[in-house]
């Protein structure tokens, strides 16, 4: 195929002990995923059954006001719902009926569980089943939980996609399924490269519309484009599909390894692979090299957030010359990020979960050149003189595959360049 990646001589991080602490976590809950999922699935509505806090989180995390009537909302539980004065299921039917009458364009409705709905044990699976029958065939109703007591940030997307897998029609066809909600432009690039190698048919989950003929079965092999899709991975495996494990497609190396794993599965010749990837690889290397100048020799510290931390640490240390001090992830699924851990040279602390105060102590002691963290921590750390990169940008910005590899490096180099640029102190 192509040359094998240089494995770190000191050994990778797959088997290093993981630091696990329990305390306050400074992370979003899974509801946040709705912000990008509703853009991706254009005929879907996400109805959170929750509290005013859930509604407030969604509008705050989106960071924007609503320009048109959005395709997400919150059915806010009220005192009467909790006191059992109103049957919550009947109330929910009412809200959904109203919603679907007003929005005939909606073909998929997701009932999204929240912390309060989980605590009062509101059975949304039952509700979804009932509503699917009631509104069939025009609307399909599914449910998943984005609650903070069960999901962290990007896990919401995992829960959503996993909820779609059991209802996909069965197919025996040999096909490649790309799993993960990516911006269209990025998705098209990946499909373009794979098709140029003669691989097909290629399907994506989530499909932009419910009517798209996506099936799954024993002929299906799938590649994950995001490292947080553990439940979706399990659900697909249960449907007989087979996972193609690979490093995640961030940076030139990650993209090449990810494509190579698929190419091997489909018996693509080394020549053809080289022919298809040579030009974009060269472009990616060049673009990374430019952005990486500011990153070389700099240290980086990851607070757990998007779950992309391990693949990104691999990219930044191997392709941009950075040194990782700590790589924190909300949770570590070695079945998914194992190949990335293999490539990440031993050295950094690998941590799972969080006690934010203790982790802040470690970051302050280490004084990294760049700290990747959530929005709640970024300005306070900047005020302490630590340059930061907000993790949420990594989820909202196209960063996958060759053509975005330079942009990805740029996201990290910009805060460092900016810190050098500004001459604001009295000299």
């Amino acid at each position: 195929m192509t040359e094998l990646p240089r494995l770190p001589t000191s050994g990778g991080c797959r088997d290093v002990p993981i630091l696990k602490q329990r305390g306050q976590r400074e992370v979003f809950c899974g509801l946040t995923g709705i912000i990008w999922l509703h853009r991706k699935m254009q005929d879907a509505f996400f109805l959170v059954i929750g509290s005013r806090t859930c509604a407030h989180l969604l509008q705050s995390a989106a960071g924007v006001m609503i320009f048109a009537e959005p395709r997400f909302g919150t059915a806010i539980l009220e005192e009467t719902d909790l006191a059992g004065l109103a049957d919550a299921q009947t109330e929910l039917d009412k809200v959904v009926d109203e919603l679907l009458t007003r929005r005939p364009d909606i073909k998929q409705l997701f009932l999204v569980g929240s912390c309060p709905s989980e605590v009062i044990k509101l059975d949304l699976a039952k509700a979804a089943e009932r509503m699917t029958q009631r509104h069939a065939p025009s609307v399909r109703v599914l449910n998943f939980s984005g609650s903070g007591i069960e999901t962290t940030f990007t896990q919401g997307e995992d829960a959503c996609l996993a909820s779609m897998v059991p209802v996909l029609p069965k197919t025996e066809d040999r096909q490649l399924l790309l799993v993960g909600a990516l911006p269209d432009v990025v998705e098209e690039q990946a499909i373009g490269l794979l098709e140029a190698m003669g691989i097909g048919p290629i399907k994506v989950l989530p499909a932009p519309r419910a009517s798209d003929d996506l099936g799954v079965g024993p002929g299906t092999v799938y590649a994950l484009t995001q490292p947080f899709l553990g439940d979706t991975h399990d659900a697909l495996t249960r449907r007989g599909a087979r996972h193609i494990p690979a490093p995640f497609p961030f940076g030139e190396e990650g993209t090449t390894q990810w494509l190579a794993a698929i190419a091997t599965e489909f018996g693509v010749s080394a020549d053809l692979f080289e022919q298809v990837t040579a030009a974009p690889r060269a472009r990616a290397r060049k673009a990374i090299a430019q952005a990486a100048e500011a990153l070389k020799g700099k240290s980086i510290f990851f607070f757990p957030d998007s779950q992309l931390e391990i693949p990104l640490a691999r990219f930044l240390t191997r392709e941009c010359g950075m040194t990782a001090i700590e790589v924190g992830a909300p949770f570590i699924h070695k079945g998914l990020v194992g190949p990335d851990l293999d490539l990440l040279a031993e050295g950094p602390t690998i941590s799972e979960g969080q006690d934010v105060d203790l982790q802040l102590d470690r970051a302050r002691a280490a004084r990294p050149d760049l700290t990747v963290c959530g929005l709640g921590l970024a300005n306070p750390l900047e005020a302490e003189g630590l340059a930061t990169k907000w993790a949420i940008e990594l989820v909202f910005t196209p960063v996958h595959f060759y053509e975005q590899a330079g942009d990805l490096a740029g996201l990290f180099s910009r805060p460092i360049r900016r810190a050098d640029l500004l001459k604001l102190e009295v000299s």
Partner: protein
């Protein structure tokens, strides 16, 4: 269950956070699941705060629910005390923790922490952010403030400013200056800028200045009763209100009323000829009750606008807002549903909106200029420059910020003169939108139900029903600048409908224009 796509106010514990984050030496232990920490970013991103809010979230997970969430709370509270060494702690539950009924207040009390521990009962499923702030501040004051000897010199407490408040930072400075000019110094500003130790000495002031009833009215009432401190009722936003405020302070303190108007520009700017075009501009007001009430007076008495509608999203202020609306011959819009506000705006077709960030977006969508007068806040509401709403400089700021979104006086005349000009065509939009303003959709929407008033008319009478625009009239209507076209269309339709005219001709259009001319 209520379907909500956007909300003006967060949950009540966010109100408590606004109080805690504005203060120093206070820590908030919040029993809450993972994810509720999103609220931190409101403060660090929108307000650009350089410190984390002083909040410890217990971060319980699903697996803790059957086990021991109570113990988790105790550990979190102890760790928070050990690490931050606050002078006082407030404890409470977010919406989810309220359901598991761990009683954080009771638990904290039994822990025997060496500082005052103040329990908060904030019903998440009934109340909202402003209530949370008001109640939290009230509980802190009730626990810590005591009657004490008054300061020798006359002093006042400024109460109500919080973190994430609309221009609170600058209003404090302006009100301090107003009082200082009258020989009154400030004892404590709270909650923002104060510590629990400061709260404890609030009783030394002679009276309280209630800057924002939304966040401090309960505390003001309690202090009036228990500490014998009167509080001011006038919120000094606008020239008239500032003068009234000064008179009220004089009456309470016995000091002579004095206001330094050397920097006051609003009255002259409003009188100067360029402002003639502001006359009778139809404005719609929406926001929190305090800011809307103040803006209604400024808009009508100090800018010469015509207030065509007003309302607020916080029900706590519904009564005074309704009263003000009645006084102006209007019906108040009291709702926290922005879609309802949008419908009202569409129906009223105002020439300007004074509202929140949401109304600014509604205005963009409808092609109506908007100036922001109230929370909920946006990063733009924390300008780097000094930009108060209250006092003398506040009045100047109001004039500027309300006038800037409008098409300026001469520009408006030029638009009339050159309405067919290639650069002034409709799609270009007003220049302050950089020519990229979205073109308004349906002009004016449906006409409201007409009131009968017989008069001369042109056109064919049918006795009610649909009004049709004849092609010539439609063409003529297009010549009217877009920013008044909606109003012209609506007025003409009302005029025609009132007279039973079924078809609008060019004559009907101009008869309507003459009819509505002021």
């Amino acid at each position: 269950m209520k379907l909500t796509v956007w909300t003006y106010e967060g949950p009540p514990h966010v109100g408590a956070m606004r109080v805690a984050t504005g203060m120093t030496g206070l820590h908030y232990v919040l029993h809450a699941p993972q994810g509720d920490t999103y609220a931190d970013l409101l403060f660090t991103m929108i307000e650009r705060r350089n410190h984390r809010p002083p909040v410890t979230y217990t971060t319980f997970q699903a697996r803790d629910l059957g086990a021991d969430t109570a113990n988790l709370f105790k550990t979190a509270a102890q760790d928070a005390y050990d690490r931050f060494k606050p002078q006082a702690i407030i404890v409470g539950a977010s919406c989810t923790a309220e359901l598991i009924q761990d009683d954080p207040g009771g638990m904290a009390e039994t822990m025997g922490l060496p500082v005052p521990t103040i329990p908060l009962e904030l019903p998440s499923y009934q109340r909202k952010e402003n209530f949370g702030a008001d109640e939290t501040f009230f509980q802190i004051v009730k626990t810590l403030a005591r009657p004490m000897e008054r300061t020798k010199q006359i002093t006042a407490n400024l109460i109500g400013p919080t973190a994430l408040g609309f221009r609170h930072r600058d209003d404090i400075q302006e009100v301090t200056a107003l009082l200082s000019d009258m020989g009154i110094s400030v004892n404590v500003v709270a909650p923002m800028t104060s510590s629990p130790a400061d709260i404890a000495r609030m009783g030394a002031a002679h009276f309280n200045v209630l800057m924002y009833p939304e966040t401090a009215e309960s505390a003001a009432r309690w202090m009036e009763r228990e500490l014998d401190q009167p509080y001011t009722k006038v919120v000094p936003i606008g020239v008239g209100a500032t003068r009234d405020f000064v008179a009220e302070v004089a009456a309470i303190s016995g000091n002579e009323a004095y206001v330094d108007t050397s920097r006051l520009r609003l009255p002259w700017y409003s009188k100067s000829v360029d402002s003639t075009y502001l006359t009778g501009k139809r404005v719609f007001l929406f926001g929190d009750g305090t800011h809307v009430l103040a803006a209604a007076r400024v808009a009508s008495e100090e800018m010469g606008f015509e207030v065509v509608g007003l309302g607020c999203y916080n029900r706590e202020m519904a009564r005074p807002v309704r009263a003000k609306a009645r006084e102006m011959g209007l019906e108040a819009t009291i709702t926290d549903d922005y879609l309802e506000v949008e419908r009202v705006i569409e129906a009223l077709q105002p020439e300007m909106i004074l509202g929140t960030q949401m109304e600014r977006h509604i205005g963009k969508r409808l092609g109506i200029p908007c100036s922001v007068i109230s929370a909920p806040v946006h990063v733009q509401d924390f300008p780097a420059r000094y930009s108060p709403q209250m006092g003398i400089e506040g009045a100047n700021v109001l004039f500027d910020t309300w006038v800037h979104p409008l098409v300026m006086g001469l520009e408006e005349h030029l638009l009339h003169m050159f309405r067919e000009d290639f650069e002034f065509h409709d799609a270009a939009g007003p220049s302050h939108h950089g020519g990229h303003a979205p073109s308004p959709g349906a002009e004016g929407g449906a006409a409201p139900r007409p009131a009968a008033s017989p008069r001369d008319f042109s056109g064919t009478e049918t006795g009610g029903g649909q009004v049709i625009w004849l092609a010539e009239a439609e063409k003529e209507l297009k010549k009217i600048p877009f920013f008044v076209r909606g109003k012209a269309r609506r007025n003409t339709e009302v005029f025609a409908a009132e007279r039973g005219v079924a078809q609008i001709s060019v004559d009907t259009l101009y008869e309507a224009k003459a009819h509505y001319a002021r």
